[in-house]
Symmetry: D2
Subunit: 423 residues, 4 copies
Amino acid sequence: MTRPWPRDVTDVVAVRRDLHAHPELGFTEIRTAARVDTALRDLGWDVRSGREVFDATGLPGLPEAAVLEHAAGRAAAEGVPEDLVTRFSGGCTAVVADLRGDRPGPRVALRFDMDALPITEASAGDHPPIRRGFASRHPGVMHACGHDGHVAIGLALAAALSTRDFPGTVRLLFQPAEEGVRGAQPMVAAGVCADVDVLLAVHLGFGLPSGRFAPAATELIATSKHLARFTGREAHAAKAPEQGRNALLAAATATLNLHALPRFAGATTRINVGRLRGGVAANVIAGEAELAYETRADSAGVADELARRAEIVVRAAAAMHEVDVELTRTGHATAATTDPAVAAALASAAEGLAEVRATHPLGASDDASLLMRAVQESGGVAGYAIVGSDGPGPPHSPRFDVDEEVLPVAVAWLERAVRGGQW
Amino acid sequence: MTRPWPRDVTDVVAVRRDLHAHPELGFTEIRTAARVDTALRDLGWDVRSGREVFDATGLPGLPEAAVLEHAAGRAAAEGVPEDLVTRFSGGCTAVVADLRGDRPGPRVALRFDMDALPITEASAGDHPPIRRGFASRHPGVMHACGHDGHVAIGLALAAALSTRDFPGTVRLLFQPAEEGVRGAQPMVAAGVCADVDVLLAVHLGFGLPSGRFAPAATELIATSKHLARFTGREAHAAKAPEQGRNALLAAATATLNLHALPRFAGATTRINVGRLRGGVAANVIAGEAELAYETRADSAGVADELARRAEIVVRAAAAMHEVDVELTRTGHATAATTDPAVAAALASAAEGLAEVRATHPLGASDDASLLMRAVQESGGVAGYAIVGSDGPGPPHSPRFDVDEEVLPVAVAWLERAVRGGQW
Amino acid sequence: MTRPWPRDVTDVVAVRRDLHAHPELGFTEIRTAARVDTALRDLGWDVRSGREVFDATGLPGLPEAAVLEHAAGRAAAEGVPEDLVTRFSGGCTAVVADLRGDRPGPRVALRFDMDALPITEASAGDHPPIRRGFASRHPGVMHACGHDGHVAIGLALAAALSTRDFPGTVRLLFQPAEEGVRGAQPMVAAGVCADVDVLLAVHLGFGLPSGRFAPAATELIATSKHLARFTGREAHAAKAPEQGRNALLAAATATLNLHALPRFAGATTRINVGRLRGGVAANVIAGEAELAYETRADSAGVADELARRAEIVVRAAAAMHEVDVELTRTGHATAATTDPAVAAALASAAEGLAEVRATHPLGASDDASLLMRAVQESGGVAGYAIVGSDGPGPPHSPRFDVDEEVLPVAVAWLERAVRGGQW
Amino acid sequence: MTRPWPRDVTDVVAVRRDLHAHPELGFTEIRTAARVDTALRDLGWDVRSGREVFDATGLPGLPEAAVLEHAAGRAAAEGVPEDLVTRFSGGCTAVVADLRGDRPGPRVALRFDMDALPITEASAGDHPPIRRGFASRHPGVMHACGHDGHVAIGLALAAALSTRDFPGTVRLLFQPAEEGVRGAQPMVAAGVCADVDVLLAVHLGFGLPSGRFAPAATELIATSKHLARFTGREAHAAKAPEQGRNALLAAATATLNLHALPRFAGATTRINVGRLRGGVAANVIAGEAELAYETRADSAGVADELARRAEIVVRAAAAMHEVDVELTRTGHATAATTDPAVAAALASAAEGLAEVRATHPLGASDDASLLMRAVQESGGVAGYAIVGSDGPGPPHSPRFDVDEEVLPVAVAWLERAVRGGQW
């Protein structure tokens, strides 16, 4: 059963709820990207999307073909026109839109991430998306980090700016796969930052209360995500256990010892084995196992050292059980800092809209940092701002929700900053 | 595309190859059971099947509904008539058939197991099923333990006996889900052993060379299979790792410590964690993990003690990381011994067909032992015989294959034993 | 062979070298305490020591009787008079000395810790204590944290103040067993802080370069030290491994999982299993194991939570292998902050002696914090200052050494502060 | 206080009790060897001992010098004459004695092991050695495997045979350090088996009841003992945990994964980490750790494979934490079988003394196997016999005791076999 899907984007809350109800994991944001693509073209923006701006071929963090195909089928079933399903297939779900203002000025790019998380949304009656009827319709997938709000803000901003009454040129970057820090690197590779003067990323929440803006987030920490695939040898667990080479023992040993890597004095670090799959049945020595882990640090040097040690642990765990291991870095982000000029412009634009907090710690990673670095390294400036948003649960939890009242205020903030043009 | 599927079962090799090409995991043997059901009715046997002889409701080892549905769809697509797909849906894939001979005698039941394994078959050109074109058409599933041969033997035996020229009554038990030792218990519960005088199970291979029969296998070891589901609490791995309760650390610790349980002096034991799944993504503290393990021992007392210690390990691993755990025994088998009378009858029937080995160690578990015990406890006799079969790989390996030349000889052996009636 | 030991303490470098050559572990500082006791009496201070001010009976962190006896024997062999060996036996190695000034003023207590570490000193020719002939003469024991310097400073200060030309009363606290944070609590219990107005602790080095003073150290972190004694059951590893209850497997599992406890967002934490002893021989299942670990955090709440989780890990590891465990907290320290008045007085006193750094992170624990808290809670003020000291190796490493040139400057600093009396 | 020590050895129970009260660990059997040496010379045997027949220099399983010295001091204090203390110092505690019979015949060697175990003897009032006043006087050391009985049997046999009324030549081998299978190899190296026709070892107990003899023990399993020394880098656990290289984490990971090595189908295997020592204090990252483990198997091939895998685990655990490891094989024994001729001679000699059991499983290792193999490889025959002995506890447990009533019967058995000369 195919239904039409909404094209109007001026009601930021309605758009956010529609996206919340249809969450899509990284590289499968077909319905989301299609909505963005259509809306921006309707508003007169110069849109490039899909393979024009994003080559997903061979990306290490790309889901399997079957997953991508399933997502395409679901998007089609949810009313996405066939040409757009095709355009955004194969993981190529980015959208880039430009609009030239009515007077000279800088090229300002704003990043909005689109993907959801593999989390099952809370089903309790008091969970706002349940109470108001817009909870996730995709089992096991949930917008638990506010990216639905980000996209809605981006589209409402696009509508507001479509009058062209601003200096310079605005570029909107709708990015796939921020989770897993996989989607920014291909956008950088596609050149979307090449001629950008100001790069701005915004995130909702992260501990900052509603009614407050933080123009310059701190603790944007470096991270890398890794996949370790252990390949041993299966064997009958009763008839010939000694003929097996146990990939699960290797993976379990790696898991414990990765978590046991030392804290670093003078740096904030994180390590997590977040996913482990291995073996087929209780009576077979496990021949294969796959482990996804991440390392983080608030300094690039410590991040590199921690990733180096993690790799040693993984390789030694494989050697210990005589299994092979293939290690792939599936995503990464760097540490990043907001330029004072950007912070000042945002603080000025916030007047009367919200209380300004000079800084607020993100305490997490975002591959917007790669876009920021690309712009900063070629002479531009960049910033990472936080829009306060209260909610019933922390990010990445089934109870997460955004405070919808802050969405239009966030739009107003960005609109003012763009119109001000004082970076 | 629906094709007719073969109903003739006299060509034991052809039947075996057809089954080998269409392997079905435990409780999803719909196409297999349908072939068996149809063939036996065609041959004039008194057939009871599906829910008549097997209640799969709530079985702890039952696959998820989606898996059962997928199997039903596949069976339909492979030509199984709709009424039979329905009959064998929901995991109820057993078939029991009786035939009364032309003279008085004992009720003799023969067990044939039907399920395949979650193993990807070898794809090398010299793998016989590849070379001869009957390799598995079901990705990731394979007859790697010879059950395809068992079913083929059972059906050819049914054809041979359809003349009714034998004493007493023969009952053929086509059992689901021997792997995981899950299918025999529900058949016992359904009463299929209640009035049986002689229970016989046969297995191909297991190290006995072609040309040899072993009427009385030894080392039929007790086992139990368990599923441990750990439930902790998800959290953002960077923002709030301390708010998580890490189910993967619990599972990894359990895995290592289960394998580290002691050997037992004077007993052969086995322990294996064969499957582990946990967590969703590298940047989320894993909130859930599931672990499938088995314990085995050649004495019931040691088996119980080992299972007790394993449970302690699993529960302590959960407590260690403040996660909950739900433990389920998904299957079990006991130790079993062939009665001398059965061994003697089988040895006598083997004359001229194969060289008889008084015993041969199975060194593994089979829940035929539960059928054997049920019959033995109610005054009957029972046996577990091995038919020698050379092959390129060990059981439960991608290279496994049976020696098809032994199949008709096995049929002849069982036919002679039944006709002899001297148990 | 008994030699006289030096009683003069005015040469701060000579005293420090003598102490460096005769390092004594916590609760065995007999020779050190005897030197302190004698020197202070010689200088006219009012001295209380041994059991008068320190009850070591039943302290959980106390070494075994044999260790205490061995220390007493060594001290006697090194020339300590018998009455003093007796006075400081049984772990009662504290010395407290009071001197009243010539005019009214506050009671100011200064803490100097005396113990060394179980570290084997570097033997390389370029290690200063080797080159200059005052390396440790006690195998496996070393002043690797500068406490030799602390005691020397304290004694030189006592000599300088013996003129009584200062306001109020000065109390010198020579504390045993700072390592393991075991010695301060019994001193608090003995009432040495009861009537103190100002409590001051000083530490050399810790990353602050020579020529700099930091009147107010930050990051004085809370810690607790624990001993876990696992008691299982021994068994012959070949004849009856299953009859054993393996204390080493419990300890090894605890070790890995303690280190794998999560980082805490927003807090600096540490966890370390620093010592493990278990089992007797390769062919015996280990029946006993003992594990010493510590937890630390820069907030008291997180410290408590981390200690709670560590206990859960240890108890679950024992339960997992069916062994008993006895858990003892052997020492602890709290977080602490220097009062502004103390910092100001110290900064003022430093003028012309060294460059003042408002703060410097200790990044470690010191149970001087318990003395500080005791004084602060009864209305007094307290401070923890760092005297910069370059050196070839970090604290607690075999290469550690203090910069002797800073010792007399530190004495001058404290003398000025005491004489100033402006707290 | 020096007391004379008994020289008479005809009272087998008295000798056993004296030895039981003075147990000595492997390579420190100075008092034991001195008693043996003196008694045999008194009886007229041709004795070679100490360095004449045993070169302990550089043996990997040798205790540290301090331990050897302490043992020498204790032996002297217990009345061993100084020349004998010297003779048996440095780990050279073997005694070999020859006596020629009065007629031609084979050279028959009998092995008696002398060492005790690092086990604290039971102190309960109903423990026979406590009740009868001959419990261990050496804290932490105990004859818990019956070697005290073996030596007593050997000496009483020497006394009985001193009449020379037997064919051929008898050689008595009193071996050090059977525990840890360390003492036989140096005796083979010293040539004590070179011209031996019959080699016989005897063991008390091991599950065979009093009143029974087993001339041919089975399940004499191959073993090797290993010491792994991990060397990492110490660091302050709070100031610089990341600068450490944690030897304890390596050792703990090795411990768990060694125990998790697979069972082997078709073979009995054992693996045990029996001792672990590492680190110095809770607040120091452990820089050193030492781990003692053993592997066993009832086939030499499996034993080699298991030892190979164990080494891989240990080396990988070191690599995982970037620590070095030094691996030493400290002892070993091979699998061994009694020759039929020896079994027959022993069975014949047992008539009227005890009930003969054709075989009894030792289920353990004994480096008498190396002596047996040396003799068998040079054309001789060998045997390993068990003398039944009831007792309150299993070997290697604090409750172990031998049934003293069987001791004179064992002497009689061996005497008859030697006098019979029918091997």
